[in-house]
């Protein structure tokens, strides 16, 4: 029989993993909203705009990687707990 504390922990971890997956999906929508480097700007304004856009994409990618890593660590912990119960 499964230890009730373990069961609570597993539910908590499963919920966290599920939430993190959803967060990453939402972040992909944010990624789609970010503009790409523009063809309409010219000169220094274009450089400023493009630099700003690159920063945004970098921030977004960093956030996605961190959320992804957090999800993987959560899944790994779940795996460990399953093997401990088994």
């Amino acid at each position: 029989m499964t230890n009730p504390i373990d069961a609570t922990a597993r539910v908590a971890l499963e919920f966290q993993a599920q939430q993190l997956r959803m967060i990453n999906e939402r972040l992909s929508y944010v990624r789609a909203l970010l503009p790409n480097e523009s063809v309409d700007w010219r000169g220094p304004a274009q450089e400023l705009f493009d630099a700003g856009v690159r920063e945004l994409h970098r921030d977004c990618a960093r956030a996605r990687t961190l959320i992804d890593t957090a999800e993987q660590r959560t899944m790994a912990a779940l795996g460990l707990m399953s093997s401990r119960v088994g």
Binding site: I5, D6, T8, A9, A12, L13, F15, Q16, Q19, L20, M22, I23, R26, L27, Y29, V30, L33, L34, P35, S38, V39, D40, W41, A45, L48, F49, G52, V53, E55, L56, D59, C60, R62, A63, L66, I67, T69, A70, E71, R73, T74, A76, A77, L80, M81
Partner: protein
Amino acid sequence: MSDELVISGGGSFAVATDEMLGSAASLLRAADMTRDIAGSVRMVDARLSIGQLESLGIPTGVALAEDDLNYALVALEELAQRAELLSVGVRFAATSYGLGEAVVEATTRRVAANVAAVLGFLFPAWAAALVFTTPALPMLAGIGIAAYLLTRNNSDLLNAETTAGPLNELLSDPAFVLALRHGVMTVDEFSAGAWGIPPALVSILSTASVIGLASSAGSIQRAGGVAGVLKETPVRLIGTTPPAPVMAAKTVQERVSRIPQPSAEHPEQVRIEKYETPGEPPRFEVYIAGTVDFAASGTAQPFDTTSNVSNAAGPHGGSVAVVAAAMREAGVTSESPVTFTGHSQGGGTAARLAESGEFNTYAVFTVGGNTGQIPIPDSVPAIIVEHTDDLVVASGGLQDNRHALVVERQAYGGTPLPEGVAVPAHQLTQYAETARLMDQSDSRELQDAAHRLAVFGRGATTATVTNYHYERVLP
């Protein structure tokens, strides 16, 4: 063909492409969404504290996940702030550019007016010499073309032969069209100078708006009247189509496609859609055709050159009379909410009807209209679509309806003009393409404006459409 839309006006000095404005809107949405996501991350983070991890015996690797989430929060906050800042930056750039453009336009206008007044004053003795030496040659060409457009008395003004090949290329060149717009604005100063009024006085009269495109058109019409052309007549109803059920236009493209294009088989120049909802006054969508006959006399067609000149001069044009009569026939009262949609002369007619204050105008939407110098009231939301290579738009002068949302596009940017089509950028099919691009745009300005038009006919329990055919009563 260019897919780039340039958006300006709407009560703002900003001038930007729809891509820029779309980016600004998307960036704000991204910032809002990112803040929501950060809230979710905080919630996940708060659910499992380190203490809880230990008490539940959860493997310590998850504690590292908590660190990841904290770093992710920092990244998300930065992302939201940066997105917001970039959005503000895009709008600031658009406004700065627009302000600069407004200053340049005002200066160019003043200089062109003064040059025209001096030229007129010296005319004819010095005019020829100045034509070949002045740097304002495009302005002079504009004056000439404007006078030609306003006075030419024949029915093949815009036929394929007269505007074929190189001439069509010239007439469709955005630089030439812009010069024409300035030229049209200076016809009055040129004429006043030619009448012997000192240039300094002309300048004062012009600044005080005592003279302008309307007074020039009025003078041309009076002079034409002496010669038996450009004379207004009463109009009469010839026929209507039976009322038929209709659905409200959902998109801008659909709206443009509903503008009448009179033919021998379907000569109706005005389309009126009536939307009824119990307990509310009926609402009316009025669609107005463009110029049908370019003759300046002897035609029964009220959508002719005479009406074009009359519309430039004031509110007494034949096409204005036609639409007002059709509206009365359809049951429109001064209280009925009305939206006007027009192409070419239909745009100018729509602007004149909105200006008259006789109707409860909900919105004005024009494509390729010569509306620049027709003052649409500030209280009336207006969307004005103009092609920068459309000569007809330029004949209306510079666009002074600052509160209107102005959408510009070069219809034939980077592509050859079609053979045998006179002033191709003025064709309704080209404006339908621009409307399609407007429907697809991410620009908040365009989306809000399109939404305002789309909701007008919504929720009606009964909707019918009737088309009206009018003719002039010839003496």
